[in-house]
Each structure stands twice: as structure tokens, then as C-alpha cells.
């Protein structure tokens, strides 16, 4: 009886281990395949000309420079808007807000905002920024739309980073006669900043790749010249990729895959930066 029990437990253990391994591989395999396929098909298209020139012949030749620049503008615009608002909201929620119905409602709103489909953000941006506030389809409207989409992630990551600063640090500071704001600025924020930056970069890399929110708010099919002000439209990599994959017949695949490759490289550079900042901070962290 006893040996049989051990035998069953052993088999169950083996099976569980196998299923866990399979599940993990199911996550990893697509990532590797996507990377390999895109690199294989796109690397041939990656030339200096491709990165620095305007599209020509109805996108069938030339480069994707305006789309790269447009995406960079949009990421910067998103950051300028979402980072300060996100950090300040996170500070308010974790350090100042009392635990009452209003705070709980805000909490719930943030969680729900994170679940809103990105195309809905696009429609919202069209309604509020483009039409109602009359920004038109513009970098400003697109950045604000992407910013609002990024806020829940930035706020959640910032609150987590702020929450991981030990309470004892706050009490030590307060016990020396610091006001709450002094404590936030001198103790909490410096120690939470790496976590906040990491979370923000991840949110921005998400925003960089989004198509739906910029579809109605900023993205242009084709522009002969670069945007001059924040009220201009711009091209953007994800939308450009969509256009050349669906709207332009007889296009060379290395242009499509090359564009995808540039986009995922930008996103990966951002993600790796986030990981490096986090690793660097963990190494230096003394608590």
C-alpha cells in the first residue's frame, strides 16, 4: 500500500512538472519565432537609406524616416504628459489619500481603465481632443490619447514602487520634524524613482507600438514633410506598418518586415533599458 502511494505521488509530480515546463515553453516559443521570422525577413531591408529617407513610389521604395521620427515624437509627448500626472497621482493615492469610498472608486477606475480596449481610447481621443478641444488630428491629440492609455500602468507601477519604500523610512523622516511633503520628496521619491522609471518605460514601449489610439487622432497615411509643430499630423511606425501590409499592393516583403523590425527594436531597446535600470538599482539597493 505504502509503496503504491509513493509511486502515484511520484507520477503526479512528474506529470505536473512536465505540464509546467510545456506551459512555459508555449510562452517562449512564439517570442523566439516572431523575433527570428522578423529578423530573417527584415534584415535585408535595413539599410541606411531605409532608416533616413522618405518613402517613395507609393511606399514601395525609399525609407521610413518620417514614421520613425513620428513614433519618437509620440513617445516623448506621451511621456511629457503621462509621467508627471502618473507620478503625482500615485503619490497622492499612496501617501495622502484616506481610505474612503472616493479613493476606492478611483482605485477601481484605474483598474478598469487598464482594461479598456485601445481602440476605445482612440475613439475617446477623437471625441475629446480632436473634435471637442479642436486640436485636430495632431501630435498633441495623439500624445494625450496615448498618455491617458498609459496612465493606469504608470500609476500602478509607481504606487508599487512607492509602496515598496519601507514605512520605517517615512517614520524616521517624520520623527525628525519633516512634513509629509518633505518626506515624500527627500525619502520616498528618490527610493521609488527607479521602480517608477522602469514602469514608465514599459508603459511607453507599449504606447510606441499601439495602432488603434493613434488611428483617428494623429497618424497620417503619408506626409511629404516632417511635422513642424505639435498641431501637425505625423506618420508613425505601427500605423505605417498597417498601411504597407494592407493598403499597398505589390510591396516588397523586406519593407514590411524591415518596418516591423525597426518597431520591435525600438520597443526592445526601451524594455532592455528598463530591465537594466531595475538591475542596477537592485545592486545598489541597501535595504
Amino acid at each position: 500500500m505504502k509503496t503504491k502511494d509513493i509511486g502515484v505521488a511520484y507520477l503526479v509530480e512528474k506529470f505536473a512538472f512536465f505540464m509546467l515546463l510545456v506551459s512555459t515553453l508555449i510562452i517562449v516559443v512564439p517570442v523566439i519565432l516572431i523575433t527570428i521570422i522578423i529578423i530573417q525577413n527584415g534584415i535585408g531591408g535595413l539599410t541606411w537609406e531605409f532608416l533616413t529617407e522618405n518613402p517613395r513610389l507609393g511606399m514601395r521604395a525609399g525609407g521610413i524616416f518620417p514614421a520613425i521620427i513620428g513614433t519618437i515624437y509620440l513617445v516623448l509627448g506621451t511621456m511629457l504628459f503621462a509621467l508627471p500626472v502618473g507620478i503625482l497621482a500615485a503619490i497622492y493615492l499612496s501617501e495622502y489619500a484616506k481610505d474612503n469610498w472616493l479613493t476606492r472608486l478611483i482605485d477601481m477606475t484605474i483598474v478598469n481603465l487598464a482594461g479598456v480596449p485601445s481602440v476605445v481610447y482612440g475613439l475617446f481621443g477623437l471625441g475629446l481632443f480632436v473634435t471637442f478641444l479642436q486640436f485636430g488630428a495632431s501630435i498633441l491629440a495623439g500624445s494625450l490619447t496615448l498618455g491617458i492609455m498609459s496612465l493606469p500602468v504608470i500609476i500602478t507601477a509607481s504606487r508599487e514602487a512607492i509602496g515598496s519604500v519601507p514605512q520605517s523610512f517615512r517614520e524616521a523622516s517624520l520623527a525628525l520634524g519633516a512634513t509629509q511633503w518633505q518626506t515624500v520628496r527627500r525619502v520616498v521619491l528618490p527610493n521609488a524613482l527607479p521602480g517608477i522609471i522602469t514602469g514608465t518605460i514599459l508603459a511607453l514601449s507599449r504606447a510606441a507600438g499601439e495602432t488603434a489610439p493613434i488611428l483617428f487622432t494623429v497618424a497620417a497615411f503619408y506626409l511629404p514633410r516632417l511635422p513642424q509643430t505639435i498641431f501637425d499630423q505625423c506618420m508613425a511606425l505601427p500605423y505605417h506598418l498597417y498601411v504597407i501590409s494592407t493598403q499597398v499592393p505589390n510591396i516588397k516583403p523586406e519593407i514590411q518586415y524591415g518596418t516591423a523590425l525597426v518597431l520591435i527594436m525600438m520597443v526592445m531597446v526601451m524594455n532592455v533599458t528598463a530591465v537594466l535600470i531595475r538591475a542596477q538599482f537592485r545592486k545598489r539597493k541597501q535595504w
Partner: protein, 257 residues
């Protein structure tokens, strides 16, 4: 209770103080006075309200949403909860925690943290305050050559004296110690106690301790708390030799607690 031949001036007056966290009452109608320049030891088993009293004194309990108090608490006759802004109160009433809490800064910046909060800017003045603080806490000789070292690299006992130095640097009148030696070895403990005794001439100190012997060694007077009540307060020597209350006697002789 008070020595007949001395007339100590009262620094802190506690009147009919009760403290609650939500429905549970942790301090019950406490009445006592704490004198200028004395060390008052507070002893008692766990959950007797010792730490709650300290955190009510410097209003750290304000951070606890469930906290509620009745009665009054005065420093130099001024009501702590009604007449003093909380951060200026805490500047006057320093606190040393059970576990040393060096901030993740250098030794120098830890000590300079408080003065900088309160507007001290000049490097020369800061240097003075850092040196004075560290000297008063008997840490100067051990760290004077490595002030830029992260404070967390110091040993536990050094960290606790760093915290004392940091508290002294903001110029408090009262220092609260919440079981300051609970994590320290006997030698470090002796150094902290030595610092406390030398600080008597300038500060009023309240020492909450789980170690009755520490109170006997260091404090002028001792108060015994049990389940939120102040059972007995008096000269340390008297309280430890001829306790007035049976429960005090049981506790200090180790029959419970």
C-alpha cells in the same frame, strides 16, 4: 512619589489620557508628569501600551487612521494636539525606534538630513552639527574618517547611535526611545545607555524597554504599565526595592511578563 527635597520642573503633563485603535482601548486614563532632564523608564509586558504612549507623545499615531485619543497631553503647559503644529512638535520630540533606521544615505547625510529639513544650508554649519551630533552619541571617533560611507554599512549598535546623533542634530528637547536596544548586543547596549546618561543634562528622555534591568540601570524614575493602565510610577530605586503594587512586584521579580 516626588523627592521632597527637589523641586523638578514639569516638562510633560499627561492628563486622563486614553488611546483607542478603533474599538480596542490601549491606554486607560493615564495621569502622570515627566520632569525636565530626567530619564523616565517605562516597563511592562507586551501590549501594555508603552509604545502607544510614545507614539501618541510625538503624534506618529496621527498616521494611523484607527487612532483616537481622549484626555490631554502638554509639553511646557502647551497642549500638544491643539496648540502645536505636528512637524514642529516632532522637531522638539525626537524618537529612536526599536530597530535602527538609517536612511539609505551616507553617514554625513543621515545626520544632516534633519538640519537640512529645517533650513540649515551652509556647509560649515552642517559640518558642525554633524560632528556635534556624532560626538554626543559617542560615534564620532568610530566614523570620523568615513562620513561618506553608506550608513547601512555600520554595525547595528553604531546604526542606533547614528539614529541618536541624527535626532540630536535637529535640537530636540525630549527624546523618546522605543526599546532602543532590543536588537543590540550587550556592549552596544552599554554604549547606548552611556550616551543616554550623558545626555541627561540637556534633554528629557523617556525610555520604553522590555528589559527591566535596563530601566533599573539608566532611569531616574520608572513607570510600570500593564494592559493599558499605569500601575505605578516612582523613583527607580524605590520601585524596584519596595514596589507599592503587588502586580509591579510580580512583574519585576519575573513572575509574569
Amino acid at each position: 512619589m516626588v523627592n521632597a527635597h527637589t523641586q523638578p520642573s514639569v516638562k510633560i503633563t499627561i492628563q486622563n489620557l486614553s488611546v483607542y485603535y478603533d474599538a480596542s482601548q490601549v491606554l486607560r486614563h493615564i495621569n502622570c508628569e515627566i520632569y525636565q532632564n530626567e530619564i523616565l523608564g517605562i516597563i511592562g509586558p507586551a501590549n501594555s501600551g508603552k509604545t502607544s504612549l510614545l507614539r501618541t507623545l510625538n503624534r506618529l499615531n496621527d498616521r494611523v487612521p484607527a487612532f483616537r485619543m481622549e484626555g490631554s497631553l502638554m509639553i511646557d503647559g502647551v497642549d500638544v494636539y491643539k496648540k502645536i503644529a505636528v512637524h514642529s512638535l516632532r522637531k522638539r520630540v525626537g524618537m529612536i525606534f526599536a530597530l535602527p533606521v538609517p536612511l539609505p544615505l551616507s553617514i554625513y547625510d543621515n545626520i544632516a538630513y534633519g538640519p537640512r529639513l529645517h533650513g540649515v544650508r551652509g556647509r560649515k554649519r552642517l559640518n558642525e552639527l554633524v560632528e556635534d551630533g556624532l560626538r554626543s552619541a559617542f560615534l564620532w571617533d568610530e566614523v570620523k574618517d568615513r562620513l561618506e560611507l553608506p550608513a547601512m554599512k555600520l554595525s547595528g549598535g553604531q546604526q542606533q547611535r547614528l539614529c541618536i546623533a541624527r535626532t540630536l542634530a535637529v535640537g530636540p528637547e525630549i527624546i523618546l526611545y522605543d526599546e532602543p536596544c532590543s536588537g543590540l548586543d550587550p556592549i552596544s547596549t552599554a554604549k547606548v545607555e552611556e550616551a543616554m546618561i550623558r545626555l541627561k543634562k540637556d534633554y528629557t528622555q523617556i525610555l520604553v524597554t522590555n528589559n527591566t534591568k535596563q530601566s533599573a540601570r539608566v532611569s531616574d524614575r520608572t513607570a510600570f504599565f500593564l494592559q493599558g493602565e499605569l500601575i505605578e510610577i516612582g523613583d527607580t530605586e524605590k520601585l524596584f526595592t519596595v514596589p507599592q503594587d503587588k502586580r509591579t512586584e510580580d512583574y519585576i521579580s519575573g513572575r509574569f511578563g
